[in-house]
Amino acid sequence: MVAALRRRTPAYLLLAPGALWLIIFFVIPLYFMAKLSLDTEIPGTLHYRFTWEWSNYKEALELYDTQFGRSFIYAGIATLLCLIIAYPLAYVIAFKAGRWRNLMLFAVVAPFFTTYLVRTLAWKTILSNESPITEILHAIGLAPSGHILYTGFAVIAGITYNFLPFMVLPLYASLERIDVRVLEASKDLYASATSTFWKVTLPLSLPGVVAGTLLTFIPAVGDYVNAEFLGGANNRMIGNVIQSLYLTQSDYSAAAALSFVLMAVIMIVVFIYIRFAGSEALMGQEAV
């Protein structure tokens, strides 16, 4: 018993600093936020008292249900667009790029090397009325008529762009792992290229689809930079609301309640996904 304990001590010693950091500065703050979300403000002061005030949730959700729904819709559309855009690219990098592979992978991560906010500001230029891209989008009918900036279209475009690498990398990782001989076998058995894709390639790349969807959707739902820079007053997302309630209106209880609901909904989505795909999909592919 003592020997077993001694053998395990180094493991716990190695774990302790990191685990404690995460417990103190991630888990315990969540507890504090949960508590804050059920507090009532003592009138006239900035102090709060714990009163199991469930009405905080009700009021916050009633007041901000549009922004809540909008966040999930914007993030959902952006995630779907990311999947559609990222899959051909990941496929080509994995199977067809040859000596261009590293260069293309570099192009995928290159946006990360520019500051997130500056990247988003660049989209302000790209989608402005004077930009040739806006003209092209109008000409081919991809964008709604009128100006694009400060609309939901611009916010979704920004989110799609900013989180696209999170979709490409896990997709590429799972496609690259596919044994090419399996694809050849399918061809040898007279499957057309189309049915090989639907029946072999796509199912084998599903872990990548799952990981990519999660890695894109989670940050997209909570994002508020794109809505702040590219959207107008009618495109505010739940992140904008939480941010302004916390930082400018000091309505901590409502903000905490909204954060908690957001976290809860996302956790439910993640758990459904993990049950469906196994936790390794999230753990292993995140490495890129």
């Binding site: 493991a11 293309m104 906010l117 290229a193």
Partner: protein
């Protein structure tokens, strides 16, 4: 598509079918390539825009429309003292957060790969959850924590605490993947040759996982220097580079922001290139032994 040519009977139909099929396949294969190239262009367009607009000479305080070419912002990229100060704060913060999270995260990764212990699953969970939490929630909950405790005062310390917190998970994941693909016989050989556990770690394990640690450190640095959301909640009056940009966005963005962003871009590309080169060298070094061994085993079999 295969049904159409089958309806035309006769000798020539077979070759026509394969010809048509081949042409169709050619179009389709190249269509995927064309789409991929378009997506690559899409990924690079904003970077080109940032680069081009770092040479812009805007009339007003906003740098959103093209006015004319100038080199003046590139010749004095650090003329804006507020911006320079924010950049220096960001670099200092990122360096400290990288050092702490890399050390702490590497220790966790080693424990997870090398040791069996009670509470493994919960530890894995503890590492995954921060990565699956939206940044607003992390930022807001940390702010709640600091507000309720009343200490430490919001500023550089709280930023450092927050940055280390969100970097740890990524460091663990990267170093862990390097440790899993690790040839343990090298460590056993060191032990057989009389090296103690500490010497073995210093002379064998550490050099071999160093590229992984270096990659993790670079990721942590990149995450920290680019973080806006969590920092926005916990910065107090301290201003980092992203926070400066957000503040400036309301009153006009100096072109120097684009110049500094570009300098940061080129520096990161150079560091990435160096890291890849190092990793290839390390892989070549470790690859020599097993290959020779494989040749030794294979040869008698052939003979």
């Amino acid at each position: 598509m295969s049904a159409t040519p089958a309806t035309t009977p006769g000798e020539g139909s077979l070759s026509a079918e394969t010809g048509a099929a081949r042409a169709w396949r050619w179009v389709r294969e190249h269509a995927v390539n064309v789409v991929a190239v378009l997506v690559v262009i899409y990924l690079l367009v904003p970077i080109v825009v940032i680069f081009v607009f770092s040479f812009n000479n805007p009339a007003g305080r906003y740098n959103f429309t093209w006015v004319g070419f100038t080199l003046k912002h590139w010749s004095h990229p650090f003329s804006d003292t507020e911006l320079t100060k924010a950049m220096l704060t960001s670099i200092k913060l990122a360096l400290l957060a990288t050092v702490i999270s890399t050390i702490v995260g590497t220790m966790m990764a080693i424990a997870l790969v090398r040791h069996k212990f009670v509470g493994r699953r919960i530890t894995n969970f503890l590492i995954v959850i921060p990565m699956a939490t939206p940044e607003v929630v992390m930022g807001a909950s940390l702010l709640s924590f600091f507000l309720v405790l009343g200490t430490p005062a919001l500023g550089f310390e709280t930023l450092l605490i927050a940055h280390v917190m969100f970097c740890i998970s990524f460091v663990v994941v990267v170093v862990r993947s390097r440790l899993i693909g690790f040839d343990r016989s090298l460590e056993e050989a060191a032990k057989d040759l009389g090296a103690g556990p500490f010497t073995t770690f210093r002379l064998v394990t550490l050099p071999l996982i160093l590229p992984g640690i270096f990659g993790a450190a670079m990721l942590a640095f990149a995450l920290s220097i680019d973080d806006f959301v969590i920092s926005n909640f916990n910065s107090g009056t301290t201003v980092t580079f992203p926070l400066y940009i957000f503040g400036a966005a309301q009153r006009g963005i100096p072109v120097e922001v684009y110049v500094v962003a570009m300098i940061l871009f080129f520096a990161t590309v150079a560091a990435m290139g160096f890291a890849t080169w190092q990793q290839r060298r390390a892989e070549k070094m470790t690859a020599i032994r097993p290959e020779q061994e494989a040749a030794d085993i294979a040869l008698p079999g052939v003979a």
